[in-house]
Symmetry: D2
Subunit: 333 residues, 4 copies
């Protein structure tokens, strides 16, 4: 309560807390009175109390997510989707081009990344692009090419779905449905992928808090789909020498708060291919359960994101370094 709050205001808030099904405890201090409200905060919201008379601030103590919480489930969740295993002692590696462009491009990439140690293939068929004038993806044809690449290599397919109406189609072809950063809070879409049996890769929005990310995961879990991988792909800050700022402490923090596995995307997280290899290695060292990397046989002529894509050789070299670090830390990769 504010220092100048009256007795009547304190009594009013005590009553409101009781109405919300919480148990109030009044603590009188030298300068101000504090009311502790005990109960399940997830049923209410701190904002409902903040507008009360004489209230100075409401400080929540319980996390608002439940099914994603480590408190609910102590062991880390291991997710398996075809050839991809993420979580536990295994580091999964999802690699491939930003966009599927042609049969040759995707097959060549799939074979090369598999040979270098990738355990899943990424590739965009439906592309959300900042400008309406940019290449928007091959759509269903892209999905077919991904399925062909899976058949040729055995690699699980990870691809983005951008709209509720596309979920059945994409779910038919993909092993893992990716929710892009721009759609992290597209709740209808989260519910739709929550209703499938596919694994989901949920990317953190560039200005999402960890709590918002976990609540987005909660939408999917709550819809019945337990196979959610979280993905740190960089946040928007004042820095301009990188496209986004990649905060690897997210990995360690998420491991403390949730049982869900954490994948890191150093390609979007830095936005420049020359920064990717060492940040991939650092991600493994930070404890990432998986990596997702943009790889293209000819980045200079890629239809999208070429500037942040590794070529096939760079990817193989990066994998070699990552594997050394994983081995040093007792992990499989």
């Amino acid at each position: 309560m504010q220092p100048e709050a009256t007795q009547a205001e304190v009594a009013h808030m005590v009553e409101r807390i009781q109405k919300l099904g919480l148990k109030p405890h009044v603590i009188v201090g030298a300068e101000r009175t504090v009311i502790a409200a005990v109960g399940d905060e997830r049923r209410t919201h701190k904002e409902n109390l903040e507008s009360g008379p004489g209230v100075s601030e409401v400080l929540p103590i319980l996390a608002p997510y439940k099914m994603a919480s480590r408190e609910l489930r102590k062991e880390p969740t291991v997710i398996r989707a075809g050839s991809l295993v993420v979580g536990g002692a295994t580091v999964g590696v999802i690699a491939g081009p930003c966009s599927v462009e042609s049969e040759e491009q995707i097959l060549q990439t799939a074979r090369a990344v598999k040979a270098a140690g990738a355990t899943a293939l990424r590739g965009g068929a439906f592309k959300p692009r900042t400008s309406p004038y940019s290449f928007q993806g091959l759509k269903e044809q892209g999905l077919e090419l991904l399925a062909a690449a899976r058949q040729a290599t055995g690699l699980a397919v990870v691809t983005e779905v951008v709209a509720t109406e596309d979920v059945p189609l994409v779910a038919k072809y993909a092993d893992v449905l990716q929710i892009g950063a721009r759609n992290m809070q597209n709740y209808r879409l989260l519910e739709a992928v929550g209703a499938t049996r596919n694994a989901v890769l949920l990317k953190r929005g560039p200005s999402a808090t960890i709590e918002e990310l976990l609540l987005a995961a909660e939408y999917i879990l709550n819809a019945g789909n337990p196979n959610v991988m979280l993905c740190e792909r960089g946040i928007r800050t004042f820095e301009s020498h990188t496209r986004f700022t990649l905060p690897l402490a997210t990995v360690v923090y998420l491991h403390a708060k949730t049982h869900l596995p954490v994948v890191v995307d150093p390609s979007h997280g830095t936005g420049h291919s020359y920064l990717v290899p060492q940040m991939a290695v650092a991600s493994v060292a930070a404890g990432a359960d998986g990596l997702i990397l943009e790889v293209h046989p000819d980045p200079e002529n890629a239809l999208s994101d070429g500037y942040q894509s590794l070529d096939l050789e760079q990817f193989a070299a990066t994998m070699a370094q990552c594997r050394k670090v994983a081995a040093a830390l007792g992990k499989e990769m």
Copy 2:
């Protein structure tokens, strides 16, 4: 180019620029060589060039949006949607509760805000909520209540649409379709509202650049709908004493770059009702073409956002202050 770029690399980039349909000009400096590429940059993207050998940086000069650009259309666009006029010398005022909760609540609010000078009614029927456990709105019943309030008061209705599949339904009831901040880059949804004849209120995402906001507007314009109002509702920064940081310079900057009108939302932009009145006044002083304000007859018992809602008296007082400033600056309100 990088200082150590070779002649061959310069020649290679000159060729690539030509292939992209641009005209290269090579400028040799003391420390490095610069290549100017002249032509329509909107057809290509700086990233396509950044991955070239010996390239240091690519600096775009033309804005990537076109239909939204002030260069295309010098006069400010005035948007009319029922009782609401936004743009030119008139400041439109959209007021109402975060969520439609009941017939009594929305009718009482509509009458009161109209009496105080509002020119449109806001109210959420489909609510995108951070937590799956929060109140999600009355949905179609909420839309019916909004239509009833329009009938009773003559106020135009502004309400959010959160999914492509809801667009026809919401468009039937609403005068203005609101695209929320979380959906600013939900391109499928932008295209869907672009295909309607309703006016659109497009909110800036909390970490969207102005360029991204204008490109989102471009999606709507490009789909055939010219009636787009932009809305500044606060950005995410390190500040924690406000829910978001409300940057009013956006209004002045947007007026220089686009002909589209600019609305400000001081309720979300501050997140605390006691900060709203003066920030509403400041928004008018900064040149806003419209305001959107959360108003509730009983904020303390609101089902959502009560902490940032004005009550009916506070709204009337805020309007009185805003009108004084508008009059001082020669605007109608």
Copy 3:
């Protein structure tokens, strides 16, 4: 406490809280135990408790500043320094060039800004510059020119001091000592200006929280100088179309938390002269107690900051608009 905290850990923390001179209250909830610690938090720090065993989080309730607090002193502080009055119903206007460059430049500017309604003259003699290769100011000669301009016009002089060793010299010439944003947490310098009798203009650092700003003011107040004006000059965010993001809600928030007056700097806060006039007007509308504006007779040839300086005519026009808004809101300017 964490949900899995043991009884022994709770008992340990109760003891620690007692040792810190605070009074513990243990509240047992369904999922976790909370310990409220009542007493003067300013003597300790939340961090001292955060490292305790079983501790989940420490949430401070009292503000850590005291002398700057509105709780200590209800009435707003009005600061007078020569011709400058800041606080209460009067809006002070500090105008002048970024750097003092020559006698003619400063005298011409001083006369013009006075004629247009400024109540103090700004001008940099000691310039902190990002690059060691930039113009660093005229130093003592600049101070002499400022004093001459004061003599000619009667305007109080506001100028920056960048080092402890310069305080006596600058204090001899200036009415108001400015602490620049880069030095907001140069505590030795704060103590040095706190030991003078001059008024102080304390600029917010570009990433300082409001709490850090008020604690910086507290250093000055605590050293014995009560005449501190706070200055919002923009924060660093992801926005790149302005040099900084100018958050005017700071003015309203500070008025709720502190009795010290608040000045706004739209020149640095936007970084582009074409954005300054409307943001100056908006600052007045938001309740600013003062404005500080960069004005130069020939911005194009200024030795520093020309791109964000108004010329003499633009300043006069800006003042006219500001005065209309101030009058509409019942303030003097």
Copy 4:
């Protein structure tokens, strides 16, 4: 130039560019005219041109720092200060308490961190504290204790200097002078340490760009001291689950731009001791030339920063993990 710039305005700018000693090249495009200005940009500033008539934007191409630039010096600089080697194939480790508190505390820590592999001892004697009511350090007595610890262990001493007037005193005791994040742009202090023969550890300010950091280093280099280590210690972003956001891509980026070595501070960079070990390992994996870590024999009772300090065992365990990763990547530690 702006699309509507006149011929006269173009001619005017061409003339201004010439006057600044640069060579103009006019490139006429379909929509607008671009003027390239060739020459040493470090002598001028883009802002001097931005205020010209008809100018739309000024895009600098050369970096404004020179002595710090990798273009000037290709080989990485290796810095030696007593027992500490930073740069090249060796990872230096600076460890010790936030504040020197007592002889026993500093000696016990020095012995333990040396045994675990640290190559230098850190400890604050002059402490810049956010609040004037916090512990401000033991000052000269603290320096004496640090010197005693050096004598006992052979470890080089790294300690912060906060004011110009303290430089001679601190330089007498310290091997490495630390410039704290709050003082990164305290240019007088940079010049003062630039005039000593001590090595300098320059911490990045929490909202400083990399260019500003390198220009701050340039102040020290330009004053005659070549022994500058840069330190990434976290930036201020919207994230609140960590005290700062630690962007490890800084290490890789700096290695591309400058020959100066880069140290990482995971203690301040995360602000929570449980996040430190894995972020230390990740820093080594990212290519850091050194680590600086807060270590305290009894973090719970530390006078400052206990919540982010490792205890002696945690430090030894962290070193063991770091060493494995360093070995895997072919570095000495």
